[in-house]
């Protein structure tokens, strides 16, 4: 059972990393949880595109207001933070 949960989590993480890498025009293998979105050149407009792609991919709604970047689903500052926030949203909205 734990293995199944971990597998789902890895699947979500893999898809999110894929989306971030595609936005940043880099290789998914080069991203680590610590990689910062700003260092990937993903600005506020880029983040809006990333969240759109994630919402479409997982059929979820990501509550994020660009005017209050630290509120809502979490601060989307690093690859790890985005993955964790999206895993939680998928669990809550699709669980």
């Amino acid at each position: 059972m734990d293995g199944l949960v971990a597998g789902v989590r890895n699947e979500i993480e893999a898809r999110v990393v894929e989306i971030l890498a595609s936005q940043a025009l880099c290789d998914a293998g080069s991203l680590t949880p610590e990689t910062r979105l700003a260092d990937l050149g993903i600005d506020s407009l880029g983040l809006a595109e990333v969240l759109f792609a994630i919402e479409e991919r997982f059929d979820i709604s990501v509550p994020f207001n660009a005017n209050r970047p630290d509120e809502g689903a979490g601060a989307f500052s690093s690859v790890g933070a985005v993955c964790a926030a999206i895993e939680a949203l998928v669990r809550n909205q699709k669980g």
Binding site: D43, A48, L51, P63, F64, N65, A66, N67, R68
Partner: protein
């Protein structure tokens, strides 16, 4: 530029508006002076599929009260607002054009979305409802120059008529061009302003994607701000050569004295304070006035973090550490996008004509990164001789008007 004898002085001799606060002149002034907020729950088809469900609509709009059946078939909602506002403005101005003048007078309007309600309804019909045809006047209703065309037809304006579209700066660009045309002698009279009606399902859905809309209200320059709120409506003004206006005894609401437009050439959505600063400074240079003559700035003040901080920086760069009072009336009537500058010119007329500075409503706590006197929540009496009106559009396009008490 009053030093150049070749240039005419330009005054406003009529004003009209249909906006979320009121559908007439006295009502608009009263609401601005009261700090009344017209933002509230929206009622739209498929509202449950929107994450943002507030706006500042023109509530209870009754086209039957203003238009024949044939006119209604031709007029998009935005055009309806513009036509009614223009009737009010021309009536107040008591404008009558001589036969030759009609060939020189024109109309220049701003709009961001044009007939976007018409577009939304037609798309819904063919895509969502699977219908095979749309109304035969869909094209003349949705074209962005429709409002300007109907104003030209209704008021016999046979000179230069066109529409400019620079997103949220559209109507300031329009009014600035009208000002320049009257000032240069190209036209004795211009109708100008803007109209917008984008509070449709598609109009809001498109904005949702940028994640800059507030779910609960528009609080510009406030620490609690969380975005902009869309509004709709129109405001139309009669810009007239001053000697002509004085000669016929027309009411003079204010004098337009300066205009400048700049381009950030930086980012498609994020504002650059330097572009805004250059627009304000340029309008004052154009007017031949020093910054310390300005008693009021009507801010672009959208309630987004990006705009409010950038605009605050720009204002302090123009005026120094103690800028004049600044207010953002989008807190009351919402963001009218391409018509924003036109409706907000009402706050400038209120300040210059009545000595009342409209407040920034909904304001709760200062944002230390703004550091402006934003006339929070309650209007203020002040003798204002000169005022600036800012409008900054996506695309980094900025337009600032300077006006002087008549």
């Amino acid at each position: 530029m009053t030093g150049n004898p070749a240039l005419r002085r330009v005054v406003i001799t009529g004003a009209g508006s249909v906006n979320p606060l009121a559908s007439d002149v006295p009502g608009t002034f009263a609401a601005l002076a009261e700090g009344r907020v017209a933002i509230g729950a929206l009622d739209l088809p498929d509202l449950d599929r929107l994450s943002i469900r507030i706006g500042a609509p023109v509530r209870g709009w009754q086209p039957d009260a203003y238009f024949t059946r044939q006119e209604q078939a031709l007029y998009d909602r935005a055009v309806q607002f513009a036509v009614v506002a223009a009737r009010q403005a021309v009536t107040q101005s008591a404008l009558v054009l001589g036969s030759d003048e009609g060939f020189q007078a024109g109309v220049v309007l701003g709009t961001g979305g044009g007939g976007s309600t018409t577009t939304d309804e037609a798309y819904r019909a063919v895509y969502a409802e699977g219908r095979s045809r749309v109304h035969p006047f869909t094209v003349p209703r949705l074209m962005p120059n429709a409002a300007a065309a109907h104003l030209a037809m209704n008021h016999g304006l046979r000179g230069p008529s066109f529409t400019v579209s620079t997103a949220c700066a559209s109507s300031n660009h329009a009014m600035g061009l009208a000002f320049q045309m009257v000032r240069s002698g190209a036209a004795p009279v211009m109708l100008t302003g803007g109209a917008e009606a984008t509070l449709s399902f598609g109009g809001i859905k498109a904005w949702e994607g940028l994640r800059v809309l507030s779910p609960d209200g528009c609080r510009p320059f406030c620490a609690s701000r969380n975005g902009l709120v869309q509004g709709e409506g129109a405001a139309i003004f009669v810009f007239e050569e001053r000697d002509r206006a004085v000669g016929r005894g027309a009411p003079i609401l204010a004098e337009v004295v300066g205009f400048a437009m700049t381009s950030d050439a930086a980012d498609i959505v994020l504002p650059d304070p330097e572009g805004a600063r250059r627009a304000m400074a340029g309008a004052l240079v154009d007017a031949g006035l020093p910054p310390d003559t300005v008693g009021y700035v009507n801010a672009h003040g959208t309630g987004t973090t990006a705009n409010d901080r950038s605009e605050s920086l720009a204002i302090r760069a123009v005026f120094g550490p103690n800028p004049p009072p600044v207010s953002a009336t989008k807190s009351m009537h919402g963001h009218l996008l391409g018509a924003a500058g036109a409706v907000e010119l009402w706050a400038v007329l209120l300040a210059l004509g009545e000595g009342v500075i409209a407040p920034t409503a909904g304001w709760r706590a200062p944002d230390p990164e703004c550091g402006l006197d934003v006339v929070p929540n309650v209007a203020r009496r002040a003798g204002v001789e000169v005022a600036l009106s800012n409008a900054f559009g996506f695309g980094g396009m900025n337009a600032c008007l300077a006006l002087r008490k008549a």
